[in-house]
Structures are given as structure tokens and as C-alpha cells.
């Protein structure tokens, strides 16, 4: 920063020096007809000129790098921070809003750092220096010029208040627009299926029009302010001329003095005019920084406790216990009614497989999401080997627990990378084993086998294929504890049977919690827990529950239910 300022002031000094040398040259050698001094003075002008250009060059060259470096570093921090913020945060923050912070807002900051800030300082300094000079030349006139700063400040202040809100609104709208575009891209199948292009197009138009209107509001503020900032120094100049003339007439000022005065006052034009631009730039930077820090200041709610220890997954036996667990989504408020889970207790022995059964919306997904700490319970605790899972480091906990989510998420990268994700150095045989268990052999038939790029940018897969990959990903590396949320819902009966057989063998000494909807899958589990409205109402073997619990029968049995329904 200091360097930049020094370079900027140096260049300005060189700029001012050149006219002085020219005046010297014209008044001296040329007028006095001394050709000998011309080359030297010419060289001096050349030197100053080259220096000016070089200083400007160095300043810009270095400033570009440093401002860009800063932008890049903040963006990196932002991304890293976002990846560590819990799912509950991301549920509520549309990624478009996050994206606009990471791109548009940071670019605004960068521009301010590379231009606005420097010129703000240089121009303010110039302004003050010139005013001081004017005051020394002729203090009444100088005072008049100094007083002209008052309307300038008034105008600038108005911009401050009006522009700030518009700039902020503009940035928020940009985020909204990005969000809308993203959902229009991701929901394109639905939009096409219902032929709702126009519907979405209208939403977009409304948003884009808001953006347009806000941009126009900004323009109006700027147009009013910038034109006034042109007008004020001009009027001051005219006033000065009139007053100066009277002063000259009264013999209190020489004509030469007035000319010098006018010349100096002209030097104020640019610094004053640029104020408007610098303020606008600065305010945009301010709101942009606010927006970025709004996110950076969010403390990750799910982190390693101070008492957390890393544990070698190989030493984990895998006893899982839910102890009077209660849970409510942070977004749903804190009334008792908003609790999704309450008083859930469940003890799972090492190597045991337990199925969770319950109606849609009873809280199965919420329950199993506590194990990899996608969410933390609001009350009670979850333990593995009698240790609160919050006392494991996140990293080791998540290497102990393998998960297959209800909605398989694939990323646009190779099959291999999609399966391994965070596991480094996965061996070929481990991959092959996982693919085998999930009956995902189809990946070998893809155009480039395991190296085929899938996901958004690659080969499209059917729902069943995606689900099997997600399953393979979960079982890869044989985690001690396995959480499978409705893992076979998209498979056809035949494939499902094959996966079940393979899974049964794989699950033999893994602790597993499986959310199931179909009786067939329950065969994998020794015991079943029935979840109703967020509480476990019964635990036991399938046949026992079938025989004794009518609610269980209702949830699981197609035939009984159909009869009841009729």
C-alpha cells in the first residue's frame, strides 16, 4: 500500500514537473537564444516523461498483482469456510447468493483496491494541498474556494445514504438472479415436462427488471451527484472571477495573481469530479465486503470439540447408541412442536444390523443424519463405543461412518473419483469389491470404464444406476458403521435381490442402520425399530413386530393395508 502510494505520488510529481521545465525552457534558452541549453532541457523533459510513464507502469503492474492476489485469497478462504459450514446453513442459503459473493462482490472489492482507494487518497491530498496554496496566495478568495467544499460535502453525503442502499440491493438482487438461474438449470426437466418456460421466464424477467430498476436508481443518484460535482467547482470559478475582478479593480490583487489563481483552481476540477466516482466505488466495495463477511463471520456450528480425539477406525468396535436424542431443524424455530425427533433411544451392538421403519416424514432421514454429524442432536447424545460422537474428530468420525443418502449425489468427475471422494489411495481391489456389493458392474461397460466422467458434465445414468454408485461409495473402505437411507428404492426387484444378497454378506461384521420401506430389505436386519412421529415406539424382530404391533403392520404390509383401506 505504502509503495503504491509512493509510486502514485511520484508519478503525479513528475507530471507537475514537466510543465515547470517547459516554462523554464521557454523563458530561458529559447527566449534568450541560447541553443546550447536546449538538448539538456529536452533531455530533462524526456527523463521526467519516461519516469512518469515508468512509475505509472510499475504502480499498475504491482497493484494489479496485489489486488488480484487479495481477491483470490479471500475467495479461497470463502470457499474453504463454506465447505466447513454445516448442511443446516446450506439448506437456508441459496448457492446463488454465495456464488455472487465469491465472484461479483470480490471483483468489486478488487477494483476498489486497485483504483478507488489509491485515487481517493491521492486526490484528497491534492485537493487539500491546492486549497492551502490558494489560501496563501490570497486568503479571502482562498477561503471562498475552501467554503465551496461545503456543498461538495453535502452532495457527497446524500450519495452516501442513497447509493449505499441501492448498491446493497443491487448485489442482493444479483445473488437472487444467480439463484434463480441455477434452479432454472437444475429444474430444467420439470420445467420442460410442464412446458413452463414462460412461467419461469416471467419470474426471471421480474427479477431482471428489479435489477434494471435498481441499476437505474443507482444511475440517477450518480447522475445527480456527478453533474453537481461538475457544477460546484465551475460556479466557484465564476464567482472567484467576479470577486477577483473587483479585487483587481480595487488594487488588492494583480492580474497575474488572478491568472495563477484561476489556473490553480482548475487543478481542483478533477479531484472534485472524481470524488463522486470514488465514493460510489468505495460504497460498492463496502457493501460487497459486508456481504462477504456476513458469510465469513458465521461460525461453523458443527466442529471438533476441544476434547475431540482422532481415533483409528481399525480400533473401533462399532457399538452405536442413541441416548434420549431429540432434534429440531434450526430453521424450524425452537417450539416443542417443531421437534422432529424426541426421546429416541436405541442401542445397536457391534456388527448388528438394525432397520428403521416409519411413515414418510416420520424422521428416519433426520435420525440417521445425526450419525455422520450432518446435524447435531438438540438434546441427548449419540455414542459410538460409549463415546459421544462429538468427542471424535469430525474427520475420524466420518471415516468410521459410511453413508448412502436417500438422494444419490454424483459429481461431475470420473466414476473412480466419485466412488473414492475423500478416500485417498483407494486400491483397485477395494473399488472392485464395493462395486460388486452394490451390483454396479455396469460401470465397466461405460465408454471409458471407471474413468468415464459422469454427473452433470458427463455420462447420464439412470436413477437405479446412481443409487447403486452411492451404495458402492458408502461401503467402499469397509467403514465400521454403515448408514443406508432407503438404499434400494430405485432398483428393480431382480437387481434388488442381488444387491441384498451381496450386502448381507458384507454387513456381517459391520454395524449398520438401514432405513427401509419394503419388507424384502428388512431381511437384512436382525432387529427393526419402528419410528412414529419422531419417537421409536417399538423395537424387535420383524416377525415379532408383525405379529404384535398393528401400526407396524400398517406401515409395512401391502396386503393388510389394502384390505384396511377398502
Amino acid at each position: 500500500m505504502g509503495w503504491m502510494l509512493a509510486l502514485a505520488f511520484g508519478a503525479t510529481a513528475a507530471l507537475i514537473a514537466v510543465p515547470l521545465v517547459i516554462r523554464h525552457l521557454v523563458d530561458g534558452p529559447v527566449r534568450q537564444r541560447e541553443p546550447g541549453a536546449i538538448p539538456a532541457l529536452g533531455a530533462l523533459v524526456l527523463a521526467f516523461g519516461v519516469t512518469e510513464a515508468l512509475l505509472v507502469f510499475f504502480r499498475r503492474w504491482m497493484q494489479t498483482a496485489s489486488a488480484l492476489g487479495m481477491e483470490t485469497a479471500i475467495r479461497h478462504d470463502l470457499y474453504r469456510h463454506l465447505q466447513r459450514l454445516p448442511v443446516a446453513f446450506h439448506d437456508q442459503w441459496p448457492s446463488g447468493q454465495l456464488l455472487s459473493r465469491a465472484t461479483s462482490d470480490l471483483a468489486v472489492l478488487r477494483r476498489f483496491l486497485s483504483f478507488g482507494l489509491i485515487f481517493g487518497i491521492v486526490n484528497t491530498t491534492t485537493y487539500i494541498a491546492v486549497i492551502v496554496l490558494l489560501l496563501r496566495l490570497h486568503w479571502p478568495l482562498g477561503l471562498a474556494v475552501a467554503v465551496s467544499a461545503v456543498p461538495i460535502i453535502v452532495v457527497s453525503k446524500r450519495v452516501f445514504s442513497q447509493y449505499l442502499t441501492a448498491a446493497r440491493r443491487m448485489q442482493d438482487l444479483q445473488g437472487e438472479l444467480a439463484t434463480l438461474v441455477e434452479s432454472a438449470a437444475q429444474g430444467i426437466r420439470v420445467i420442460k415436462a410442464f412446458g413452463r418456460h414462460q412461467h419461469i421466464g416471467r419470474q426471471f424477467a421480474a427479477n431482471a427488471r428489479d435489477l434494471h430498476d435498481t441499476a437505474m436508481a443507482k444511475t440517477r443518484v450518480l447522475a445527480s451527484c456527478w453533474s453537481k460535482l461538475d457544477l460546484i467547482p465551475n460556479l466557484t470559478l465564476g464567482l472567484m472571477l467576479a470577486v477577483g475582478a473587483i479585487e483587481v479593480a480595487g488594487g488588492r490583487l494583480t492580474v497575474g495573481g488572478l491568472v495563477a489563481f484561476v489556473a490553480l483552481q482548475t487543478a481542483l476540477l478533477w479531484p472534485v469530479q472524481s470524488i463522486g466516482w470514488i465514493i460510489a466505488n468505495g460504497q460498492e466495495a463496502m457493501t460487497a465486503a459486508d456481504r462477504v463477511y456476513e458469510v465469513l463471520d458465521v461460525r461453523p456450528a458443527i466442529t471438533d470439540r476441544r476434547t475431540a480425539r482422532a481415533v483409528d477406525p481399525a480400533t473401533v468396535r462399532g457399538r452405536v447408541r442413541f441416548e434420549r436424542v431429540g432434534f429440531a431443524y434450526p430453521s424450524a424455530g425452537s417450539s416443542p412442536r417443531s421437534a422432529v425427533l424426541s426421546e429416541v433411544s436405541l442401542d445397536i451392538a457391534p456388527g448388528e444390523t438394525v432397520a428403521i421403519v416409519g411413515a414418510t416424514g416420520s424422521g428416519k432421514t433426520s435420525l440417521v443424519s445425526l450419525l455422520p454429524r450432518t446435524h447435531d442432536p438438540t438434546t441427548g447424545r449419540v455414542t459410538i463405543d460409549d463415546r459421544d460422537i462429538r468427542d471424535y474428530t469430525l474427520d475420524s468420525l466420518r471415516s468410521i461412518v459410511g453413508v448412502a443418502f436417500e438422494e444419490p449425489t454424483l459429481f461431475s468427475m470420473s466414476v473412480r473419483e466419485n466412488l473414492a471422494l475423500g478416500c485417498h489411495g483407494t486400491s483397485h481391489s477395494a473399488l472392485a469389491e464395493a462395486i460388486d456389493i452394490a451390483q454396479a458392474g455396469f460401470v465397466y461397460d461405460l465408454p471409458q470404464g471407471l474413468d468415464t466422467r459422469i454427473g452433470e458434465q458427463g455420462h447420464s445414468l439412470s436413477g437405479g444406476q446412481r443409487q447403486r454408485l452411492a451404495l458402492a461409495r458408502a461401503v467402499l473402505g469397509r467403514p465400521r458403521v454403515l448408514v443406508l437411507d432407503d438404499p434400494l428404492s430405485a432398483l428393480d426387484v431382480h437387481t434388488e435381490a442381488l444387491v441384498e444378497t451381496a450386502l448381507a454378506a458384507a454387513l456381517r461384521d459391520t454395524t449398520a442402520i438401514i432405513v427401509v420401506h419394503r419388507p424384502s430389505t428388512i431381511a437384512l436386519a436382525g432387529r427393526v425399530a419402528l419410528l412414529m412421529d419422531g419417537t421409536i415406539t417399538a423395537v424387535g424382530t420383524h416377525s415379532h413386530l408383525m405379529a404384535t404391533i398393528p401400526a407396524y403392520r400398517a406401515v409395512l404390509s401391502a396386503t393388510v393395508g389394502t384390505e384396511e383401506a377398502r
Binding site: 437444475q186 479593480a249 488572478l258 475423500g422 436413477g463 420401506h517
Partner: protein
């Protein structure tokens, strides 16, 4: 992540450049009158601005002597002061008017462009979207737009002012002293070479900026959308590395671009300053030899600054233009793509106001890639009102058939028609009103539950929405939510459980009330009682419309009038479910397996 090539091959590049210019012109053309007016305002502002110093000169040279002279005459001074005030007022009004007008032109062109690109994206086919990715689409409509918007913050202003002063000053220089002017002209080749270099270097750099920022955005969006999996599988570290790479590439591209302007602008300054020194030395000698007046040399030197300084601004404008052009190229590329599944220019109307729903596939051949046929030759007639179930192993082509019927893709050969009209001849409106598909993905939009159901029929009242939800069995859970139908479902409907999302998606389709309803594994996340409710509703719904149902739970299939068993894109069995079970073929096997699976 593989690195893709940045520059398209030469000829494509030229085409894109032309296309981007044409795009720019088509955006500005509706505003050409306003643009002209803006330029006039700008000229008025500048002329008034130039008059100021001249008036001051008159004030000092003539006003003051008149005032101090014997007559003590203040009129000259008063008149000049008045004129000066007038000039200032004109300058003020001109500037304000110009900024408003130019802002309006720029913003409406931008609005127009945004809308055009967005609408075009929506028109492009599924196969385009599968490859293009949502992240890149976001990048086009945000970051690229930002680059273009920069052109509206100023731009023209600098261009006109600079061009004006460069031309007029050049004239003045020539008029003042041709030999000195000739020396000045010596700088032109250097300027030309410099700006040509800048043009090439910055075009490449800015193009690269657009590419790299798109890659950055794609990764950013994708990893945050999949944050659940990222965290559960400890992918953060690797993602950070990838992001750092993309971020660094973007930084480098930006650095190259910004450094090219960091060279251009001081470069022009250098050329100007050197010219000044040369003119000064040469002029000094000429004055000495009596070939030149001192006053002329002084004026010449002063004007020389006015000649080179505006070029600085011009270079800034040029820079914004280059950056905007790179973005415009990307947008022109998108706008230049023809929809793979286009709307017919002159659509054929359906025979009756509402489609009856007879479907027909004639010798349909289809594959997603040219080298792999999924459907070799499919013939199928579904009479109006029939409920048809498609079963078969995964990858058999069931979804593909559904997509063809919903015209997400067009067949490579053969035709799909409804009520005797080829789908390719139907207007988008008729097509979508007649055929609706519900898939297992069932994307929900951020917004309220009511908004999402209303998506099926935007004109529906709250009452109709509630009725649709009730019919499908979704009302119970919706009513239990704190804000009922006004509950906001968050991004992708994340506020709901997967089964609840499917129910909402069902209600949405129910409300659309199409003649042909396609269900592709649409009940997979439902528990058995909910599924039963849905099925009961389906039975009613399907009684008066054509339906194509894909499901592996044969409970859904059992309500069908007819079952097709598919194997590698071919129909291997076709008949009533009960008949097929009796016949003891593939379907009978599946049926047995399913019965066993019920435990």
C-alpha cells in the same frame, strides 16, 4: 479435472467475433435514436465545458481592463459572468441528461440480453443441458453479464470525448505548424503497433478469463449443492485443491488481462511524453532559427497534452470493450445454438380442443449417442384411455421411451404421435398441456409448497391446489406443517423429506390434468401406506386418461390395463397383467419375485 482447450480453432473464433458484434448491434439498434440524442447531449456538455476557459480568458483580458479603466464599465464582466453561468448550467444539464439516458439505454440493452439468453437456454434441448451444466449457465448469466455491464458504466462517454478531442486537437496541431505536426505524427505507428498488440493479447486473455471463471463457478456450485456428500465423505480437502487450481487459473487469466492494460496505458503515456520531448527540442531549435513563434510552440505543447491524455481514457474504454466482447462471444455462442428439439414454425392444432391421448410410436429408433442405439425399432400403439405399464431390467430403455413420448428428445428415425399428430408438429403449449411426465427426481423449486404445486397449472386457485394435494394424499402432512401451504421448502425442496417431495410432485402433475400422464418411478421413496393412497388416487385419475407407468413395484403395475416387458429396447412381452402372469414368461417371473419380496 481435465483442462479443456481455451481457444476455439481460428475459423470458429472469427465466426464468434462476428457473431458477438452482430449481437451487440442487435442490442443497440432499437436504441439508435436515443443513442444519437445521448451523443448530442454529450457534445453539448463538452462544448459548454470548452467554452468555460475561453470565457474566463475574455473576462480577464477584456473585462478587468474595462472595469479598472477610466469608464469603470462592468458590463463586459457581467456579460461574461452571465455566459459563464449559462455554460456551466448547460454542462450540468448535459451531463446529467446524458448519464440518465445512457444509463437507460445500457440497462435496457442489458435487460434485453439477459432475457434473451435466459429464454434461449430454456428452449435448448435436454441433451444440450446435460452437457452444458447448470454452473456454466449461471456463469453466462451472471459473471459474463457483469463484464458487459461494465461497458454501461461510462464507456461511450470516454469514447466520444476522447475521439472528439483527438480529432479536433490533431486539426489544430496541423493548422498551427505542419512540420511540428508531422513530427507528432511519427508517434502514430508506435501507437498503432501498441494497440494492435493489446487487442490480440487482451482478447485472448479475456476469453481465458471467461473460461476459467466458468470452471470456477461450476465447481463452486456443484460442490456446495452436494455439500452433504462432500462432508460425509471428507471430500473438503480434495475439493479445496481443485478449487484452488481453478481459482489460480482465474487469477492468472485476470492477471494477464489486467497486465496487458497495465502495459497499454503507460505505454501510450510514454509515447506521448517522448513525443513531447522531441517536439520541444525540435521546436526550440526552430524558434531559435526564427522559423517559429514562441507563442505557437507554447500552444503546441499545451495541445499535445490534450492530444495524448484522452487516449488514456480511450484505452480504458478499449479495455472494457475487450472484456465485454469476450463475454459477448460466449453469449453469442449460446444464442447461436439451434434447439435440438425445436418448436415447429407453423404448429398443427390437435384435432379436438383437448387431446384424447392416443399415442403411437412408429418404427422409432433412438440412441443418446450415434454409436449406441437404445431403441432399435419400436412400434407401439396406446389407445386413448389405456394405462400402460413398462417393466424390464434397469437400462432396458423404459425411461428413454417415456422421454420420447414427452418429447425431451426426438427419435433419430420414425415418429411419435398423439391423436395422429406428430409431436414435432405440435406447439409447445399443446404438447405440454397434453403430456406431462413425473420422474423420481421430482425437483422442487425454492418457494412455498403452494407455488410448487401451482407449477402444474399457474392459474390454479389455492382451493384447487389444496384439492389436488388432498386427492393425492399429501394434504395430511402439508396441513401439519407450521405454515401449511405457505411453508417455504428451501433449495431443491430440502425442507421436506424425500417422500413428501414426491407427494408434492404428484400433486403438481395431478393439478396439470394432462391427457397423457407419464410416471417414471415416481413413487419410489414413498412408504407403503402413502404409496397405497397415491395408487388409489391414480386409479381415479387414470380412469379417464392415457397413462404410461414405469415402476418396479408391481403393485403399481397391477392397476395397469396392459404391460410391456422390455429387454434392450425391444418389446418381449405385451398383454394384460393377469394374462402375462398366467402365460408364465418374464413378467410372471418378475411377479413371483415381487410377491416373495413382500415377505
Amino acid at each position: 479435472m481435465s483442462r479443456r482447450r481455451v481457444d476455439p480453432p481460428g475459423s470458429a473464433l472469427v465466426r464468434l467475433r462476428t457473431a458477438s458484434r452482430r449481437l451487440l448491434w442487435s442490442l443497440l439498434r432499437p436504441h439508435r435514436r436515443a443513442l444519437l440524442l445521448a451523443v448530442m447531449l454529450l457534445l453539448a456538455q463538452n462544448l459548454a465545458g470548452m467554452a468555460g476557459p475561453y470565457l474566463i480568458k475574455i473576462g480577464i483580458d477584456q473585462g478587468i481592463p474595462a472595469l479598472t479603466g477610466s469608464g469603470r464599465d462592468a458590463t463586459v464582466l457581467a456579460v461574461t459572468a452571465g455566459l459563464f453561468a449559462l455554460a456551466s448550467a448547460i454542462e450540468y444539464a448535459g451531463k446529467r441528461g446524458f448519464m440518465l439516458l445512457y444509463g437507460r439505454i445500457g440497462q435496457s440493452a442489458l435487460l434485453d440480453l439477459r432475457q434473451r439468453v435466459f429464454d434461449h437456454f430454456q428452449r435448448l434441448s435436454m441433451s444440450f443441458h446435460e452437457r452444458y451444466t447448470s454452473g456454466r449457465m449461471v456463469s453466462r448469466l451472471t459473471s459474463d453479464m457483469d463484464s458487459i455491464a461494465e461497458l454501461t458504466d461510462g464507456g461511450l462517454n470516454e469514447l466520444v470525448v476522447a475521439a472528439l478531442s483527438v480529432v479536433s486537437v490533431a486539426g489544430v496541431l496541423l493548422w498551427l505548424d505542419p512540420p511540428l505536426a508531422a513530427v507528432t505524427m511519427l508517434s502514430f505507428p508506435f501507437l498503432l503497433v501498441l494497440s494492435r498488440w493489446f487487442q490480440l493479447a487482451s482478447a485472448r486473455a479475456y476469453r481465458r478469463t471467461r473460461e476459467t471463471v466458468a470452471r470456477l463457478i461450476v465447481h463452486f456450485v456443484e460442490s456446495l449443492d452436494g455439500i452433504r456428500a462432500v462432508q460425509a465423505f471428507r471430500r473438503e480437502g480434495r475439493n479445496e485443491q481443485i478449487f484452488e487450481g481453478a481459482n489460480e487459473d482465474y487469477r492468472r487469466a485476470n492477471l494477464t488481462a489486467l497486465r496487458s492494460i497495465a502495459i497499454l496505458s503507460p505505454g501510450i503515456m510514454l509515447i506521448g511524453n517522448v513525443t513531447l520531448a522531441v517536439v520541444l527540442t525540435y521546436g526550440g531549435y526552430r524558434v531559435l532559427h526564427g522559423q517559429l513563434e514562441i507563442g505557437v510552440l507554447t500552444a503546441f505543447l499545451l495541445y499535445l497534452r490534450r492530444f495524448f491524455d484522452p487516449m488514456q481514457q480511450l484505452s480504458q474504454f478499449y479495455n472494457s470493450l475487450q472484456s465485454a466482447t469476450a463475454a459477448l462471444e460466449k453469449l453469442a455462442d449460446v444464442l447461436g445454438r439451434r434447439p435440438g428439439v425445436p418448436e415447429p414454425p407453423r404448429p398443427v392444432a390437435l384435432p379436438r380442443h383437448r387431446a384424447r391421448g392416443q399415442l403411437r410410436l412408429d418404427n422409432v429408433q433412438f440412441g443418446y449417442r450415434a454409436d449406441q442405439l437404445i431403441l432399435p425399432a419400436l412400434d407401439l400403439v396406446v389407445p386413448a384411455g389405456q394405462t400402460l405399464a413398462l417393466v424390464g431390467t434397469t437400462g432396458g430403455g423404459k425411461t428413454t421411451i417415456a422421454r420420447l413420448i414427452a418429447r425431451f428428445y426426438d427419435p433419430l428415425d420414425g415418429a411419435v404421435s398423439i391423436d395422429g399428430v406428430d409431436l414435432r408438429h405440435l406447439s409447445e403449449r399443446d404438447l405440454r398441456r397434453s403430456i406431462v411426465m413425473v420422474t423420481q427426481e421430482n425437483y422442487l423449486f425454492a418457494g412455498t409448497i403452494a407455488d410448487n404445486i401451482r407449477f402444474g397449472r399457474p392459474s390454479a386457485s389455492l382451493d384447487e391446489i389444496a384439492q389436488a394435494a388432498k386427492a393425492i394424499g399429501a394434504a395430511t402432512f402439508i396441513d401439519a406443517l407450521p405454515d401449511a401451504y405457505r411453508t417455504r421448502v428451501h433449495r431443491r425442496g430440502g425442507r421436506l423429506s424425500a417422500g413428501q417431495r414426491q407427494l408434492v410432485a404428484f400433486a403438481r402433475a395431478f393439478l396439470a390434468d394432462p391427457a397423457v400422464l407419464i410416471l417414471d418411478e415416481a413413487t419410489s421413496s414413498l412408504d407403503i401406506p402413502s404409496e397405497r393412497l397415491v395408487q388409489r388416487a391414480l386409479r381415479t385419475i387414470m380412469s379417464d386418461r392415457t397413462a404410461v407407468v414405469i415402476a418396479h413395484r408391481l403393485s403399481t403395475v397391477e392397476i395397469a390395463d396392459r404391460v410391456l416387458v422390455l429387454d434392450r429396447g425391444r418389446i418381449v412381452e405385451d398383454g394384460r397383467p393377469t394374462d402375462l402372469v398366467a402365460a408364465g414368461g418374464r413378467y410372471a417371473d418378475l411377479h413371483r419375485q415381487w410377491l416373495n419380496s413382500l415377505g
